[in-house]
């Protein structure tokens, strides 16, 4: 573990007197390696270890009886500082319905998270409607309908030959006329480098004017997380992140990368396949996980 490795390094450095640049770099190399193995993006790791270095070369570390633990504390504090901060809430519109759009890469968990979110909001007294705006994936509409039925939430759908924009427009109209105060729009998985599909998403966003665009990110995503987050945020605009599949054993460093690159908060985490498996995000728990 990082704790053990740092302990090892400081043991070797004890009795030498002053901490040299090389010593500090040895410590930072261990921190860097731990973060990389946890899938934090390399450039994020570099920025991050710079911040830790400023603290780590201070007197406190050298005077401490447990310098390894102190460095970990600095790393942990800096991580929590980066991940935490704002109170991650969903913005409910003063002028309903509140429109939430779920976006992200293929298989990240958008459809399942849409249903989980609908169930969660329903439990809070809202009247959500799900809109099946993925017209591309085979049986995507059916998938959302089956989930909607399980949680007793209406699903607006049209024929599979329709265009996403038409479904989004009609879905919004239906929600307004039926008095739903939240619309959760599922969209097709797409690559951030597929310009045609990113433009399609922009078009839907421009028409629907979502109050919340939630980027669904798989917790096991590797270095590519920064590219995904960067493109979705600059091209579409992201208001929050849903980090899915945290019930696995992936360390989840992608969360740090996404937060670092977009500055947007993780609003929810997916912790299972069932519709009740959605939780509010707690930065300290994720930080412990990333640090292994």
């Amino acid at each position: 573990s990082l704790q053990e490795r740092l302990g090892e390094i400081f043991r070797k450095l004890r009795g030498r007197g002053k901490l040299t640049e090389d010593d500090v770099n040895a410590v930072l190399r261990e921190v860097r390696m731990a973060l990389l193995e946890a899938d934090v993006n390399l450039n994020v790791v570099r920025e991050f270890t710079k911040k830790v270095k400023e603290k780590a070369v201070g007197e406190a570390v050298w005077k401490s009886l447990t310098p390894g633990q102190l460095v970990i504390k600095y790393v942990r504090d800096e991580l929590v500082n980066l991940m935490g901060g704002d109170e991650p809430r969903l913005e409910m519109s003063q002028d309903p319905p509140t429109v939430i759009m779920m976006v992200g890469l293929h298989g990240s968990g958008k459809t399942t998270s849409s249903a989980k979110l609908a169930r969660y909001l329903k439990s809070k007294g809202r009247h959500p409607m799900l809109v099946a705006a993925d017209l591309h994936r085979p049986a995507a509409i059916t998938q959302l309908q089956v989930l909607g039925k399980q949680i007793d939430v209406p699903v607006f759908a049209m024929g599979a030959q329709e265009k996403p924009l038409s479904v989004a427009r009609a879905g919004l109209k239906a929600a307004i006329s039926q008095g739903n105060d939240v619309v959760i729009m599922d969209t097709a998985g797409r690559l951030h480098i597929d310009q045609e599909l990113m433009d399609e998403l922009k078009e839907v966003r421009d028409y629907v004017k979502p109050h919340e665009v939630l980027l669904v990110v798989d917790a096991m995503t590797g270095q590519d997380a920064v590219n995904i987050a960067e493109q979705f945020n600059t091209q579409i605009g992201v208001d929050g992140i849903v980090l899915s599949k945290l019930d696995g054993d992936a360390r989840g460093g992608a969360a740090l990368s996404v937060r670092f690159v977009t500055g947007k908060p993780i609003k929810f985490i997916g912790v299972g396949e069932k519709t009740d498996a959605l939780e509010i995000f707690h930065p300290d728990r994720l930080v412990s996980r990333i640090l292994g």
Partner: protein
């Protein structure tokens, strides 16, 4: 890297960075670069372009597990079991694979062994229609082994020679789900001699270091004959495949390059390394 003209610190740093950014892994990348530095000193390699060429060749060799074709002999009933964590592209890859096998003249039946997830069977049925392959399915909540068992019966009675069995996505850390998968494999083996002839792990190219753990656990549970790496049409490079090849020796057999029926290619270690280290 393309612009570099001398083997200085910057070159080695940039090489390591390229590997890390491709998900090769922090420790693995450091080791590869250290080894390459030693080799270059001993072999007196002075040119960055030559270092890159040697590296690509060496790594391609580690990734090359020889024959990447499927072990699907004619004249016997072949069962291909497809496994992996949630959302990696199993169902889609089965559709693509069925299409490829049909084009090669095989008679394929698909088993909708994901009886858990909403509309999983419907999704596979649509692929079956696109390909022209019969799909055997039960209702949601049925026993997955029973579906596969029925597909085997159907294959025998219809004279089909390949059954591709879809399974529900499952996180390798869920012991009960891995036990269910072991049971499915046992039942297949009891019903058909020598089956499943192929057990393919489907990995998502955007996955980071966790893919190595996925491969370890799935291999331990049901033994793997090959890997399908999907979503390589994205910007992720799938670098974790190197550690998987090196440690577990599982051959990568196919690459998924899109959502379409023809977007499946045979894995080529040289092409893979060319994309990883340009």
């Amino acid at each position: 890297l393309p612009g570099r003209t001398k083997l200085d610190e910057d070159f080695w740093d940039e090489l390591e960075e390229t590997l890390i950014l491709s998900d090769v892994g922090g420790m693995t990348s450091a080791k590869i670069v250290d080894d390459m530095r030693d080799k270059s000193k001993r072999g007196r390699i002075k040119e960055p372009s030559e270092v890159l060429k040697v590296l690509r060749d060496n790594l391609a060799e580690i990734m090359d597990k020889g024959d990447t074709s499927l072990k699907i002999p004619e004249g016997e009933l072949v069962i291909i079991l497809v496994v992996g964590v949630n959302g990696t592209g199993k169902t889609t890859s089965i559709g693509k694979l069925a299409y490829r096998l049909k084009k090669e003249g095989r008679k394929v039946i698909l088993a909708a062994g994901d009886t858990f997830r909403a509309a999983a069977s419907e999704q596979l049925q649509i692929w079956g229609q696109r390909v022209g392959a019969e799909v055997i399915r039960h209702n949601e909540g049925a026993d997955p082994a029973a579906v596969i068992f029925d597909a085997i019966k159907a294959a025998r009675s219809r004279g089909a020679d390949i059954v591709i069995a879809d399974t529900a996505g499952r996180l390798h850390s869920k012991v009960n789900l891995m036990e269910e998968l072991k049971k499915i494999r046992r039942i297949i083996g009891r019903e058909v001699e020598g089956a499943p002839q192929e057990v393919l792990l489907v990995l998502d190219a955007t996955t980071g270091q966790n893919a190595l753990q996925q491969a370890r656990v799935f291999k331990e549970a049901v033994d793997l004959t090959g890997i399908v790496i999907t979503k390589m049409d994205g910007s992720a490079k799938g670098g974790i495949l190197f550690a998987i090849s090196d440690e577990l020796k599982i051959p990568v057999k196919f690459v998924g390059l899109g959502e379409g029926i023809e977007d499946l290619e045979t894995f080529d270690p040289k092409l893979f390394m060319d994309a990883l280290i340009q």
